[in-house]
């Protein structure tokens, strides 16, 4: 990017001719933007399989008793739904798709630090995904443990647990390598003159996320290997009959899986932090507080895993300690929410689909977050543990939070990624449908959860039927909204109106370059601002 080179002819990364042609130009791509898209296509495919499984569960729950499947089959369906959605959709989700695509651009780099390692991460992501599919088809039958693989049931059931856990193990490697790549990228590849506190806040969120991916994921790897060793060689780690401790599995599992929640949520918060200043044309309120709160969430988030184990027989001292820490971790999340809302104050707000998605995110995230405090407090947790209340809570966080942030991100960056614009009106209609469907689907589960409806049950007493029916209807409304959104975006990618380089008047670096970007992003050296959110 020196000033001495003559002007390079602009060619979009989508049209760039490299060594390979056709499909191979994608499978062998080391360009971070193509890898981001590859992740996106894979993840959206898995997401829709997960949605179909979710709808099957909603059909089963329309009436008490056996409706469309047996209890055993229902167990397998929610297990696969969980494995797909957690390990193959929401954990890689934002960081692998939008992190890959936009992290280098936002910090003024031409690629990530290790492009070939990045390609390798995608390959093993696909290998892991194929293994997850195989675990459903092999002769012992699909696993029925739930995505949490709790011992000792998972060490004794006859279903195909080894293949499923091995798949999660391989998927974990993909996550670790992406995290490593991003940490090095942020440390080494920032444009000359860009200090850490000159970076936009999405890279800050990705940085905190990458540390979690790097440090927490090995724990689940070890845990799943221990589980496999216990199944295969009868080594007594977890099964009390063999001298093990089942709580050890829960400790190890949640030492990873609680921080994993922040692998999903931190980039989601980062996306929202990019969108709100753009559509308010206003400097983000409390830049440093938002940046540091990402690190604080990552750090404290490592120490709260025990709130998943209040009813498991842990010591009382541990229970109050985890409860205290859980309340502390809510503080940096709340800082972000207050700062987003304060940013809007006296802004010149342009109500476009990405901004509306961000508002929907904040609304749903607040419901998910505050019900999380109910679960974080030992006394109330004991009442609602393993009920539909928990299901409603984490869907508000993961789907209402991470999912809606993903939709916000795709509507925000779509014109940059494809150089075309979608139908704004249809985008708004699909958002309203999804929002209504979402709340109909999950809100009733808070109520029946408090009344005692357990999670993971395919049957229920008649008193819960009205709420279950509302929930099922909401599920289908939500699915229709999702379908509308995908239709709108696919149509726009093919034949949408050509989008200008900066349709939203954004101030960060991605809006300085043409849409879609060229192979090396910056054909001319970018202008690095000390304040990335300067709209004057």
């Amino acid at each position: 990017m020196s000033n001495t080179t003559e002007k390079i002819e602009y060619v979009s990364y989508l049209d760039h001719q490299g060594k390979y042609k056709g499909i191979m130009s994608w499978l062998m791509a080391t360009d971070h933007k193509r890898i981001g898209l590859l992740y996106m296509y894979a993840i959206i495919t898995f997401f829709f399989i997960g949605v179909l499984l979710g709808l099957m569960m909603k059909l089963e729950l329309l009436a008490p008793g056996e409706t469309i499947m047996t209890a055993k089959m229902y167990n397998s369906v929610f297990t696969l739904h969980g494995i797909l959605m957690i390990f193959m959709v929401v954990i890689p989700g934002l960081s692998a798709v939008f992190g890959n695509f936009f992290l280098p651009i936002l910090i003024g780099a031409k690629d990530v630090a290790f492009p070939k390692l990045n390609r390798f991460s995608w390959w093993i992501f696909i290998v892991g995904s194929i293994m997850a599919v195989l675990s459903q088809l092999l002769k012992d039958g699909p696993p029925d443990t739930g995505w949490t693989f709790y011992a000792p049931y998972s060490t004794t059931t006859n279903s195909n647990v080894i293949m499923a856990t091995a798949a999660a193990f391989v998927l974990g490697f993909s996550s670790i390598l992406t995290g490593l790549n991003f940490i090095v990228t942020i440390h080494q590849m920032r444009a000359p003159g860009m200090k850490f506190f000159h970076m936009p806040l999405f890279p800050w969120a990705l940085y905190a996320t990458a540390w979690i991916q790097l440090l927490a994921t090995p724990v689940i790897g070890i845990t799943l290997l221990m589980l496999i060793a216990e199944r295969a060689f009868q080594i007594g780690f977890f099964d009390p009959a063999l001298g093990g401790d089942p709580l050890l599995f829960q400790h190890l599992f949640w030492i990873y899986s609680h921080p994993a929640v922040y692998v999903m949520m931190l980039p989601a918060m980062g996306v929202i932090t990019e969108i709100i200043p753009t559509f308010c044309q206003r400097q983000i309120y409390g830049y440093k507080a938002v940046a540091i709160s990402s690190l604080a969430i990552a750090a404290v988030g490592f120490l709260v895993w025990g709130h998943h184990m209040y009813t498991s027989g842990m010591s009382d001292q541990a229970r109050w300690f985890f409860s205290l820490l859980t309340f502390i971790v809510a503080v940096p999340s709340a800082i972000k929410v207050f700062n987003w809302i304060t940013t809007m104050y006296k802004g010149s707000i342009d109500v476009q689909p990405p901004f509306l998605y961000a508002l929907a995110f904040i609304f749903l995230f607040i419901i998910g977050g505050t019900t999380g405090l109910l679960l974080g407090s030992v006394a109330t947790n004991v009442q609602v543990h393993d009920t539909a209340f928990v299901v409603a809570h984490f869907h508000y966080i993961i789907f209402g939070g991470m999912g809606f942030a993903f939709f916000a991100a795709i509507h925000y960056w779509f014109p940059k990624m494809y150089g075309r614009m979608y139908d704004i009106k249809l985008a708004n209609i699909s958002l309203v449908i999804k929002f209504i469907g979402f709340n109909l689907l999950y809100f009733p589960q808070f109520i029946i959860g408090v009344q005692g409806m357990p999670r993971r049950y395919f049957d229920y007493p008649e008193q819960f039927q009205p709420a279950q029916v509302i929930s099922s209807v909401g599920g289908f409304i939500l699915a229709f909204g999702l379908f509308l959104m995908v239709y709108n975006l696919v149509k726009a990618a093919k034949s949408g109106a050509v989008a200008p380089a900066n349709p939203w008047k954004g101030s960060t670096l991605e809006w300085q370059i043409p849409s879609p970007p060229s192979l090396e992003n910056f054909d001319e050296a970018p202008i690095i601002k000390v304040n990335p959110y300067d709209y004057k």
């Binding site: 440090l215 400790h251 750090a299 490592f302 120490l303 025990g306 001292q317 541990a318 300690f321 985890f322």
Partner: protein, 94 residues
């Protein structure tokens, strides 16, 4: 990386560190014959921590790296220690 200069450590130093590591391994093994009760794990981890420090700073050249990088690596070990301590709040009081 703060700079691109290469650092060579003399063989004499490397051998010295190797001997210290072997000595610490010997202690780890011999200490198992003494019954320390609840402290067994603590002692083993402290010795392992000392060994990790020697390997990281000398063999992996961490002592020549920037302060930021050394702090980042130190934080990882602090985190690891915290996670162990918190886990033992359960095991010790159950």
């Amino acid at each position: 990386m703060a700079n691109n200069t290469t650092h060579t450590i003399e063989y004499k130093t490397l051998v010295k560190i190797l001997l210290i590591l072997l000595f610490l391994t010997f202690i780890t093994i011999s200490v198992t014959s003494i019954h320390l009760g609840a402290l067994t794990v603590t002692v083993a981890l402290l010795i392992a921590g000392a060994k990790a420090y020697l390997v990281l700073s000398n063999f992996m050249h961490l002592k020549y790296e920037s302060l930021l990088l050394r702090i980042l690596v130190a934080m990882v070990f602090v985190l690891f220690a915290l996670i162990l301590v918190i886990t033992f709040i359960d095991y010790a009081f159950r």
